[in-house]
Every structure is written in C-alpha cells, then in structure tokens.
Assembly symmetry: C2
Homo-oligomer: 414 residues x 2
C-alpha cells in the first residue's frame, strides 16, 4: 500500500511508449458529412483554379494601351465589338480600339488584356466612352492564381471546416478521405450502481460515469460504445471486458479500482490477456487509483468511480490518446489567468487538481474559487466549475491572491 | 446606383426587428445523442442525490464520540459488529463502542455518525483499534448534498456536454428535451457554375459556395439542405426559391446579386411573396451587394458570389440568426490582438473587412498579414487566413505597426 506511485508525466510516458497511439484507418465520405472530420489525404489540384483568366468586375474587356491617356474630362471612345457570355468560351476577339462587354466571372476574350469597370464608362449605341486608363491585367483573375494544377493545397491532419471544404469543392471534388473515428467502449462497475432509466432500489445510486464519459469521448473525437453497468463479479466482469475489447479500439471503465476489498478491476484485467495492468495508481489527486492495462494490444483505462475524478483523469490521460487515434492534432487546454480566491491546499506528494469556478470582480480581476465537494464525487459542483487549477507535486498550497492558471473544461456557455 | 446603403449595424437591426429569430421547436432525444445540443427544459431533481448518507472512504462506521481521545499512540478499541454491504440498505445498527466495516459509497448504518478511514485503524479478530478521533459527519456525503429533491439543476439554453449529461444521468434520466436544429436551404446561382462532381465545361468553374456555406451552417448549429446550383432563369429560379422556402426554415443563396445586367436574384425574390427584398446592399467591403428578403415569414439571405465575401457575410449576418434559431447563446468572435504587418486600406464609405494571417515574430509580437486576393474571391487565400480585421467606416487605413483586433475564423488547427 506504500509503494511509490508513478507521477502523471511518468504515467503518460509509459502509456505512449507502450501503446504508440496513431490513426486507425481511413474512410471516404461526402463533403457534406465532413464537417469537423480530419483530412487523411493530400489534396492536389487536378486543374488550375480558376481554369481561365476571368473578369473580377462588370465592365468592358479592352487592350490596356487603348485606354492610356483617358481621363475623367477627356474620355477615349472605343467600338463595342460584342458581348462576352458568362459560362462559355468567348467567341469574339477584341481588336485594336475595340471593347467587349463583360460581366464578373466571365472569361477574358482573346486580344483583351485588361477590364475597365462599368462605373468608368458610358455606352452610346455601338461605342463606349472610357473615362480612365487601366494597366495591363487590371481586374483580371489569372488562370491558376488561386490554385495551380499539380499544387498540393491541403495536407493530412487538417480539420475540415467551411473553408477547407470550399477548397475541395473548387476542385470539383465531392468525396474526401478522412481518418476513421476510434470506437471507445465505455462501462462502469460498482455493486451500488443502477443504470439510468431503471428503477432505483434502496441503497443504490444511478451510474453517472458511463454517460458522462461517453459524451467526453465524443468531445475528444471518438465514438462511444455505451455498455452500461457491469456486474461486480470477477468472471462476469472479465467476460464483459473481453467483449468490450473485441468491439472497440480502446476501453474506458470506471469504478472498482480503489483499495477496498471488493475492487476487482485489476484482477479482471490481468485475467484476460497479456501484459494486463501496466499502471497501477498515479500520484495525482483526485485520480490516485487510476489503473491502465494493455490487453491484446488494446488500451484499457480504468478510472476511479467518483464522477469528478473520472472526468478529470479522462481529460488528462484518455482524451489525448483518443484525439491522436482520431488523427487530430493535440489540443492544448485553453488556459486563463486568474487569482486564487482562497488558499488552495494540495495533497501531500501528489500533483493536485482543484476544480474552480471563475468570477469576474468589479476590479476586473478574474477570481478562481474552488468548488466545494469537488473531490467527493459530486456531479453538480463539477457541472458548476469552469476549469481546474493544477498544484505541482511539491507545492503545499497556493495562497489567496496568488496568480493561478485555470485550465478550462471544454466549451461551455456558463 | 448611388442610393445610400445601410450600415452593417442598420442591416442587423432591420433583420432582427422584422424577423425576430427564436428557437423553432423542441424534440426529445437520448442522452447519448445529446452532445453539443442545447437544453430546452428545466431539469428538476426528482430525488435527493445522493439518495442516502454515503461513506466517502473505505473504513469503519462509528459513533464519533466513541473515537474522542484516540491518538496514534493511544488507540481506542471498538467491537466490530458487522459489515455494511454496498448497494443495499444496511441491516445492522452501530451501537455504543461498536464499529461496522464499510466501503466507499455504502450507506451509513443506523447509529453511526462518522466514518474512520481504514488507514487509521487496525483490525484484530472481532475488534478494531482506532488510531485517531473523527468528528461527527466525517467522511460522510449527506443525502441531498449534491442535488436536493425539487431543486432546478439545469436550465434551458445550456449547451450539453459531459458534465451536464452527468447531471442528467445522476437523476436516472435517459432522455432529454433539446431545441430542434433549424433547417437551412443552401443554393447557388450563376451561369458560370457547375456542381462539383460533374464534368467541367469550357468557360465554367466549380461552385464553391453551396458546399462551403452548407458546412458553415453546420458550424453555426443548423442542418444544411444542399440544393446545389440553380438555373439562371427568372421563372426557374423563382420556382427553386419557392421549393427552398417550403422545405427549410431559412434560405441562404449566393450569386446573382451584384450590379450586372444578369443579376436576377432580387427580381426572383420579389416575385415569390411579400414583402420580398427588405435589404438591398450593405455598406461593407466585401459584401456590398448582400440582399435580404422575407417571404412567407421566412428569411432569405442572398450573398455575393465571391467565396470570401459569401463566407464573411455569412459569419457577420447569417450565423448569429441560425444560432438564435437553434437556441444557442450568441457566441462572440474570439479576438486576438496583433500588429498590422503592412498598411491596410479601407474602402471609402464602407466598413472594410480584411482577411489576415497571423504570424508570430521572434520578438513575440503577433503580426497580422493581409492575405492577397482576399477580395477577388480566391478560396485558397481564404483557407490560409486565420481571421479578419475590421476597419471602421470612416477610417482611411490602419498603418503598419498599429495594433489591430483580429476576429478568428472558427476553430482551426493552423
């Protein structure tokens, strides 16, 4: 019971070195399904974008030199030789002292090398007055200026949003290769637990973790496989864990890992495959009993049963692994600076995480106020927190008024 | 052509006053589907959480006064009267000078009023040595301390994430009422446009906007109905718009709204219902031709055809309306401070938005560098931008080295 625990950093190192998380596979989906997915291919332009020189304004296609010398008070007259139709190749050629009507987006006709905006012209029957000079290439978007044929325009690991999908659409693409979403089996154990939706019997409480962790899996880019509450019996639990490992890429359990006589999770994990438990306790508070196993090359995270501890350890250890397996770049926590509202004590010899609620003071300082009951597993206090403060292993406390970094807990509208 | 345009603020006011966007409806879904959805109900605790006084540690349930005076060197001996089973109501009562074995989460047995941690005890046959005193209520989580029966624990407009779903699960809930997702019809017009996935014919380009706007709709909390490219013919377009209005809660079109002779969108909008066009041009650059109509009490936003302009105006005007219809609280843009890398000019008499890319200098300053071609509709430059700088209507330019606020363009991993 007094063995040396791994530090959080050591635990991370053991997990990443033994498991080496990486994207699991690639699937092809349609652009409309791709919002928020992670690109798994190079996207190379197969055509120039735009495919031809285009006008960027409504006006007249001209030979630039024909406009030289034109001024507001001294217009130059050109002959209107025709109209460039948008959406087809121009059938006309602009000759010396000629101009062709053109609209935004239409291809530049042969002979022309500039467009003069309609606002700088005045049309009279079959001629047009030009009230200003335009240099060569004015108001023209050259072929290939947006994307050059052969150019790599998007690379793997890009998060697909409106702009990236716009790039794919511009190239005529309607399907895209993305990383598959890792499947994460989620289950709870504990003889006191009843699954939500069932009748609560005396002495029991509703299981929180299988649901809250399933949602945390989605927030990390994984797909949860909700397996609910498992029996607290070694053979049954081992059977259940085998099933979980079989149907998912990674397994997250909660409960059954503290020091009590009934905590059978480590036994069950060791019974189903090699190497079994690779981490047994971490020097953090809360989260000390956290157990990690590898079975049939798959990771099993066994988190403590307290809802706050479970979600915190998920955030610290499990989320980054799921993100990596989903092909997502590592997301640093959003951190805000605040001032400790009270003295915050750490747990001896353990890195301590304290849930806090941010409050804006009149003085414009942001105060970090520890939420009470955070380590007793209360879910309401957790729901009321904005983030957590980390106190290093060898710091006894953070004093009231000291500056702290608050790691924000996901997106929130509080 | 020289009429006074509405300012962006005036346009916003006209839209919100005439349309009054609000959530459209409520649907009930399962907790596992609820990640990222918006709560549409009060959640009231129907039970105390926890439902009974629980032990928060492994140890012995005792009468606190029996432990008074116990010290490390002067233990007190109590009789072990039995074991409290977890997950059921205790059948034993703790009497004077007695202790009952208990594990974390088990209900407090009658008679006991404190728990002493196992670490502070030593068991011998049917007695236990107590090496410290515990005050009343020590290591007990009282019934209702997390949530009190009758208490409102979550309110409408809450974004559902792991913690909020945890609160719902704790109450035994498996279904939750959320706001319905607004349906947004998205279509493009332009005789030069070909839908991605088809063969590109000479003089044509692939439509970007129907895809990029569909994804922007999803990013704002809406469900896009992708309708693709519409014919550039008044009767057909009017028919298409009627269909769009019929199948969606709001319609977003792009193209067909600049000053060219072929721009038929306003005509089509006025032909299908009252009041028709309510905004015709806004004093912004890019985005000046933006047209807004109301038809059969539904909003139609007609954005310019340039992909950059279309996405910018979507961000400024359309996104907030969709968010409101989805029941989401208004999300302010994330803004970072940077220094203009070059002089940035504004357009005379219009609020100007300039796409920029952020660059971290060695001096740790963050520079905002305008991306070239941003207003010529290039999609690559837009994809390469991190955000935009807003230059007020009456400011001629922002000088190189001046501080600017950069509005970040959505979540990005660049």
């Amino acid at each position: 019971m007094f063995r040396k625990l791994l530090s959080l950093e050591e635990a991370r190192q053991v997990i990443w070195e033994r498991f080496k998380p990486k994207p699991l596979g690639i699937e092809e989906i349609t652009l409309l399904e791709s919002c928020g997915r992670i690109l798994a291919q190079d996207v190379t332009a197969q055509i120039d974008i735009p495919p031809f020189d285009r006008s960027t304004v409504d006006g007249y296609a001209v030979r630039a030199r024909d406009t030289f010398g034109a001024e507001e008070n001294r217009p130059i007259t050109l002959k209107v030789s025709g109209t460039v139709q948008i959406g087809e190749l121009p059938r006309i050629t602009v000759r010396k002292k000629e101009a062709a009507e053109i609209v935004t987006g239409a291809p530049l006709p042969k002979g022309a090398d500039a467009i003069i905006m309609i606002e700088q012209t005045e049309k009279n029957a079959d001629t047009v007055q030009i009230y200003g000079a335009v240099p060569k290439n004015e108001n023209i978007m050259k072929a290939g200026v947006d994307m050059k044929k052969g150019e790599t325009v998007l690379k793997p690991a890009e998060l697909l949003g409106s702009r990236e999908v716009g790039v794919l659409a511009a190239l005529g693409t309607t399907r895209v290769k993305v990383y598959t979403v890792p499947k994460v089996a989620v289950l709870s154990t504990g003889p006191e637990l009843i699954e939500p939706g069932r009748r609560l019997s005396p002495g029991k409480i509703y299981d929180i973790n299988a649901y809250s962790i399933s949602i945390a899996v989605q927030e990390s880019g994984g797909k949860p496989i909700y397996l609910g509450v498992f029996p607290d019996h070694l053979t049954d639990l081992a059977k259940g864990l085998k099933h979980a490992i079989g149907c998912a890429d990674i397994v997250v359990t909660s409960g059954g890992v503290s020091v009590g006589p009934k905590d059978i999770m480590p036994k069950a994990l060791n019974s189903i495959g090699k190497p079994g438990v690779i981490i047994s306790g971490i020097a953090i508070k809360p989260g000390k009993p956290t157990t990690v196993a590898m079975v049939h090359e798959k990771l099993v995270f066994s988190l403590p049963g307290h809802p706050t501890s479970a979600l915190l350890v998920f955030h610290l250890l499990v989320g980054p692994i799921i993100q990596r397996m989903a092909g997502r770049p590592h997301e640093e926590d959003s951190v805000v600076r605040a001032v400790a509202a009270t003295r915050i004590f750490s747990a001896k010899g353990r890195k301590t995480f304290v849930m806090v609620r941010l409050k804006r003071e009149k003085s414009k300082r942001t105060m970090a106020e520890p939420v009470s009951g955070g380590d007793s597993g209360a879910i309401m206090t957790l729901a009321g927190a904005n983030g957590f403060v980390e106190i290093p292993q060898n710091t006894q406390f953070v004093d009231a008024g000291e500056q702290v970094q608050v790691h924000l807990l996901g997106k929130t509208n509080k």
